[in-house]
């Protein structure tokens, strides 16, 4: 292994392997200084660079060439150099640009969160919340599309898509014969499979997990429940095609859906096969490992283990407390 190189992000120094991207270096530090990423996915080769939410300012190029970079750069696709100094949340310019990107991402997004299955685990929702985009200056019709079925288990709702290309890279990675891709150009571009042709692959269900918004959803879970009413439980099974390590989402005793296990940055740890995802929905198919750790801040946490650890926002709001209690009673009646 070559020597480690030193990089400073928002004043925090860290030593990383050469060839690490700025984003991954920041993820090694962790915390608030990690730039958000809507299109980059560490498990997908070639992804990243498109959404521009991870823009950062390089105030010092490297030890050898200390000139700052003239423009903001995409941290997911730029590798660190020895002695590089990066500003993320400490640079007003970056915060301003990111706010602009969030606004751009939202102008054509339907904001139908109340009826969207992704709500509660949607990266765009988090991003919009973090950047305080509470009103839009956009006063025109949003682009809309008809829903498309990709096979019998996956539904594509292009209206919600932010064109991150992640699902395209998944298809590229799992099969040589990709049958879905981007059609059209600009803001009329769309993800499509020619004439709704199914992505016929054992791992095609992973496009649901990589989708940062609710554009690709699991038809076996659609409208069954809100994620924050379900309880995530880690489980595994002996699967001949994949690792079989999954998260089960329970409502009472029923497994409503199965997903890959996601790390703190919302990325699947290992891709799982369609059999595990769509067909194994009985508790006796699985070996239960225990409850999944969910961040205290997450909305998914808000209704579980309630009286012991209510989320911070619930503690101070009487209406929420009442609603929380009611829902808890309903959920535990079974």
């Amino acid at each position: 292994m070559a020597d480690k190189i030193k990089v400073t992000i928002d004043g925090i120094p860290i030593e990383v392997d050469p060839g690490t991207s700025i984003l991954n270096a920041a993820r090694q530090i962790g915390g608030d200084i990690v730039p958000p990423a809507m299109c980059y996915y560490s498990k997908l080769e070639g992804s990243g660079g498109k959404c521009r939410t991870c823009l950062v300012k390089v105030s010092k190029g490297s030890e050898k060439d200390p000139r700052p970079m003239p423009k903001l750069i995409a941290s997911c696709r730029t590798n660190v150099m020895d002695g590089m100094e990066v500003q993320n949340i400490t640079s007003p310019e970056v915060v301003e640009a990111r706010k602009g990107v969030v606004e751009m991402l939202l102008i054509n997004h339907p904001l139908d969160c109340p009826i969207c299955d992704q709500a509660g685990e949607c990266h765009l929702q988090d991003l919009a919340y973090e950047h305080g985009a509470e009103a839009t200056r956009y006063e025109f019709d949003r682009r809309t599309f008809e829903k498309i079925d990709i096979g019998d288990k996956i539904q594509l709702h292009m209206t919600r898509c932010i064109l991150c290309y992640r699902c395209v890279y998944v298809a590229d990675q799992i099969t040589e014969n990709r049958v879905h891709g981007i059609l059209g150009r600009g803001d009329h571009a769309e993800i499509s499979t020619y004439i709704q042709k199914a992505v016929d692959n054992d791992f095609s269900g992973n496009v649901i997990d990589v989708c940062p918004v609710g554009a690709l959803t699991d038809k076996t879970f659609r409208f069954k429940n809100r994620v924050w009413f379900t309880k995530p439980v880690e489980a595994h099974r002996d699967c001949p095609t994949c690792s079989g390590k999954v998260t089960l989402w329970y409502k009472g005793e029923e497994v409503l859906r199965v997903t890959a296990r996601k790390d703190e940055f919302g990325e699947a740890e290992e891709f799982i096969c369609n059999t595990c995802r769509f067909d194994k929905k009985a508790t006796n198919d699985w070996v239960i490992e225990g409850p999944r750790k969910v961040s205290r801040q997450s909305v998914i946490n808000s209704n579980h283990y309630e009286e012991l650890q209510p989320a911070a926002v619930v503690k101070t709001n009487l209406t929420l407390q009442a609603a929380n209690k009611e829902e808890f009673e309903r959920a535990t009646k079974l």
Partner: protein, 452 residues
């Protein structure tokens, strides 16, 4: 009368054939380069000439060539960017239509200098006649022994291919062009790596504009130093300008860099003044993506000097009061033209041509277009101008390729210089649909700067 290097023999009948082209001294540069010069000599000569990229960015061509990585056993490519689709620019099409051999000769010399054995001319798909002309010219050159195996007995092999594009503006961006040439969707790549390291098929590649490559021919014939004597300062040589708009004589003109803008517009040698005795209102000096300037700022800089047709002089004053030479798409507007409508038209173009990869450009271009459409048709609000400036600012510099900047600059500059006209569109919505704002004060002499 300015010197002509590229278009000297443009009016000779039959100059598009190899026979007439050779009678007028064609293919001498190939013979000189391949028989008497080493590859490094050719690169050195181009460096000495100070030739700058004619496609828009103005990066020194010789420098670009010397950056080309030369690893052992890996093919190198030269790709000619003939995807000319910038609104207002039509010089490359003119050159390819009338003197195709000038481009082919330049391609051979440049490929030899770079050590490329396969070279491509990527032509915009709409230019089917030009593609046929080029293919015919390549046939002729091949039959005469200037292309193919063992050119002129030197042992140097070169195959030259013409590749039609799909007609997308974005494929004029060099990495999108390479993607398209490889048969993929024409999305710009994320740089680095630059094409000089990993370009076409992952091999080192140089992408040059048609005019830059054609300009190599006179540089080799007369020597780089001779070429550098033409022009002014760091803007050396001659440049093809596509003049259009409300002028008496629209067309492609070859100018020596350093001609004053005033001369270019009003002299009989070039545009011959504004048509129908009208007055000049505004100029887009280098194709639709450069900032638009009002008449008073295009003729003179803020320092009171005459503005020249050169890379430096046109960009004098930065984005506040300057513009850019760009690709040389010179569009003149007379007093009857509506700047709001023109800006909307440009925004519509960029909205249509954005590839849709980066969010700011994909969503922002559409947003700007819709706001400008509203302004033009009398439904605008006073806050729209600030909104447009802000959206333009959020796009600019935050995208993978320069299309985002190119979409943002015309809008930002139009509002900067013509804000009165935009305001007038909002305050007189009915009138704005029926008539134009007119010349207003846009041709008034600039206020003399106070001595500091």
């Amino acid at each position: 009368m300015g010197r002509k290097l590229l278009l000297e023999h443009i009016n000779v009948p039959g100059i598009n054939t190899l026979k007439v082209y050779r009678e007028k001294g064609g293919y001498k540069a190939v013979e000189k380069a391949i028989k008497t010069m080493s590859t490094d000599d050719v690169v050195e000569e181009v460096k000495k000439s100070g030739l700058r990229g004619r496609g828009g960015a103005g990066f020194p061509t010789g420098m670009k060539w010397s950056f080309l990585a030369k690893p052992e056993g890996v093919a190198r490519y030269l790709v000619c960017n003939a995807d000319e689709s910038e609104p207002g620019t039509f010089k490359d099409r003119y050159l390819m239509t009338h003197i195709p051999h000038a481009l082919i000769e330049g391609m051979i010399v440049a490929s030899y200098a770079l050590g490329a054995n396969t070279s491509y001319i990527y032509v915009r798909g709409e230019m089917m006649p030009q593609i046929r002309i080029l293919e015919k010219a390549i046939e002729e050159a091949k039959a005469a022994g200037f292309l193919g195996q063992n050119i002129l007995g030197s042992g140097y092999d070169l195959e030259l291919y013409v590749q039609p594009g799909g007609g997308a503006y974005i494929c004029g961006e060099e990495t999108a062009l390479l993607e398209s040439l490889e048969g993929k969707r024409g999305n710009p790549r994320i740089k680095p790596p630059f094409p000089a390291i990993a370009g076409l098929y992952g091999c080192p590649t140089v992408v040059n504009n048609v005019e830059s490559i054609a300009a190599v021919v006179p540089i080799i014939n007369d020597g780089g130093e001779e070429y550098a004597k033409i022009g002014i300062g760091r803007s050396t040589g001659t440049k093809l300008i596509s003049a259009s708009g409300n002028i008496n004589k629209p067309g492609v003109y070859e100018i020596e860099l350093g001609v004053t803008v005033e001369d270019f517009i009003y002299s009989d040698e070039y545009c011959g003044g504004i048509a129908n005795g009208k007055k000049l209102k505004a100029v887009v000096a280098g194709g639709s993506s450069v900032p638009i300037l009002p008449a008073n700022l295009i003729l003179n800089t803020v320092n009171g000097e005459k503005r020249l047709m050169s890379y430096e002089s046109l960009s004098d004053g930065g984005f506040e009061t300057g513009s850019m030479l760009g690709s040389g798409g010179f569009i003149a507007y007379d007093e009857d033209q509506c700047i709001v409508r023109n800006t909307w038209n440009f925004a519509r173009f960029y909205h249509h041509e954005s590839c849709g990869q980066c969010s700011p450009c994909r969503e922002g271009t559409g947003w700007m277009e819709k706001v400008l459409h509203r302004l033009e048709y009398g439904h605008g609000k006073m806050s729209d101008m600030d909104l447009l400036v802000d959206v333009a600012k959020k796009i600019e510099g935050n995208t993978i390729c320069p299309l985002g900047d190119a979409a943002a600059w015309p809008v930002a500059s139009a509002i900067r210089h013509f804000r009165d006209e935009f305001d007038w569109h909002v305050s007189n919505p009915q009138l704005a649909v029926e008539q134009n704002y007119g010349l207003a004060h846009y041709a008034d002499p600039l206020p003399v700067l106070a001595e500091v």
